[in-house]
Amino acid sequence: MSLTGTHHALASIDEHGVNAALHAFFTARPHYLHYGSPPFVTASSTTETQISPIAFPGVGGGISYAIDLTIPVVDLYPPDGPLPTPLVLDPGQLSLTTTVTITIGCAVAKGTENRGTVQPVSTKLKVVAIAHPTSVYFSPGVGHVTFHVDEVLIPDIEPVSLRSVVDCLIEMILNGLLSSVQLPFDIIDVDFFKIILEEGPTIADNQIELWGDIT
């Protein structure tokens, strides 16, 4: 079986390549992994992104919070190992594993010695998500592949309704995060050619593949 199939060109990047690219991306731009409202993040920088606290009546200054993620690790179909039930990785999909740390600035109760300050309270959640790749194509050789999360599972949260809330919250956070993550065609075709995208991105054999013609 030829690599290019019915097309004239193939560009593919495997699981290790995707993870290397993600590592390079988040190492250069760690502010996509670290979000916080004051006092956790006092100003946006290359390492952190400042967000607004959650406004709530009666809570002066709002509820401060921070969200920190580890660099996501991608597993392209077929899966390297079993996924937490009930997640299933189908052809064309990838799983994404990260650890999300959610920190709340817990207001110290009145009457205590440190009243008026916030005490960070954190929880670390190991997150497994199922996602699929999408592409944005502008012109030959110009475009990128990005990912969209379809399903999130955070094991061991009870009751189920709480898990649903947290799953949805994390799915929104991950999709927000991934909207900034792009694999430009440049890294997949390594500028060997300028691909005119005809098919893809697809995932098979631990690779993300693009097919097309070239200019």
Binding site: S2, L3, H8, F25, H31, T46, P184, V190, F193, T215
Partner: protein, 262 residues
């Protein structure tokens, strides 16, 4: 361990890549000297490459048929016309008033410079190998001609010989006092070399362009920017290319495959 990135093209796309590499190579120029019979010819030459049909052969051969070599020559011949030099000896005649003598008259002819511009093309078919190298922080994949094929120069040599003859005749016309000797001079000079010598000179010049002929089909910085910076908080993203291999993979189609690890 699997390769991180694979970029593969079939023969149709390989033609596109080759033709782009031909354009990128541009026009090559060389200068030198060569012999043309008893004469030394200085030359300036330029050549460019277009067209050709690519066939890929596993494991690492790129065969190119009918690659067109467009070339221009500017030959410069220095022709010493001293073989035409002559003297009219002194002649003395007795007269009643004494002996009258004519002076000895010598005519010397210069060395003339003949410039011959010449342009044409030839078709070349050859096998090229694939060479991957890392030079000065840049990965390069070249296709390099494996050996110089026989160049069919017959028609071009005939045209060049005619052009040289015409240029010599034109140059001789400008030489003072050559009038009566023009045909003799032209005959002597053009008899000094023939098609074999012209073919030899042309072949030696074109071989310089064809020998080691290299088309760069891929160059890539070892550390390359994947995403540009977007100030103030978003630095550029760079990736390091740690290894590259290239070759021809033969399955249901023959494909040129670039394998890259990052």
């Amino acid at each position: 361990m699997a390769t991180d990135i694979i970029a593969a093209i079939d023969q149709t796309a390989a033609n596109t890549v080759l033709h782009a590499a031909e354009s990128a190579l541009g026009t090559l120029s060389k200068t030198g000297t060569g012999s043309l019979g008893p004469f030394i010819a200085g030359w300036k030459a330029s050549a460019s490459f277009t067209g050709g049909s690519v066939a890929l052969e596993a494991p690492d051969t790129v065969s190119i048929d009918h690659l067109r070599v467009n070339y221009s020559l500017n030959l410069k011949l220095g022709i010493d016309l001293s073989f035409l030099d002559f003297c009219i000896p002194q002649v003395c005649i007795w007269t009643p008033w004494g002996t009258l003598c004519t002076p000895t008259i010598c005519v010397t002819f210069p060395t003339i410079s003949v410039t011959v511009p010449f342009s044409t093309s030839l078709d070349l078919s050859a096998n090229f190998g694939i060479l991957v190298k890392l030079t000065g922080g840049t990965w390069i994949v070249d296709v390099v001609i494996q050996s110089v094929p026989t160049l069919d120069l017959g028609a071009a040599a005939t045209l060049l010989l005619t052009a040289i003859g015409a240029a010599i005749s034109l140059a001789l016309l400008a030489v003072p006092f050559i009038g009566p000797f023009l045909s003799i001079a032209a005959a002597v000079i053009t008899a000094a070399f023939g098609i074999a010598e012209v073919t030899g000179l042309l072949g030696s010049i074109l071989t310089l362009f064809v020998s080691g002929l290299t088309f760069k089909v891929w160059t890539h910085a070892q550390t390359f920017q994947v995403l540009p910076a977007s100030p103030p908080f978003t630095p550029a993203v760079h990736v390091l290319v740690t290894s590259v291999t290239a070759g021809v993979r033969a399955t249901t189609k023959n494909e040129l495959v670039l394998s890259v690890d990052i």
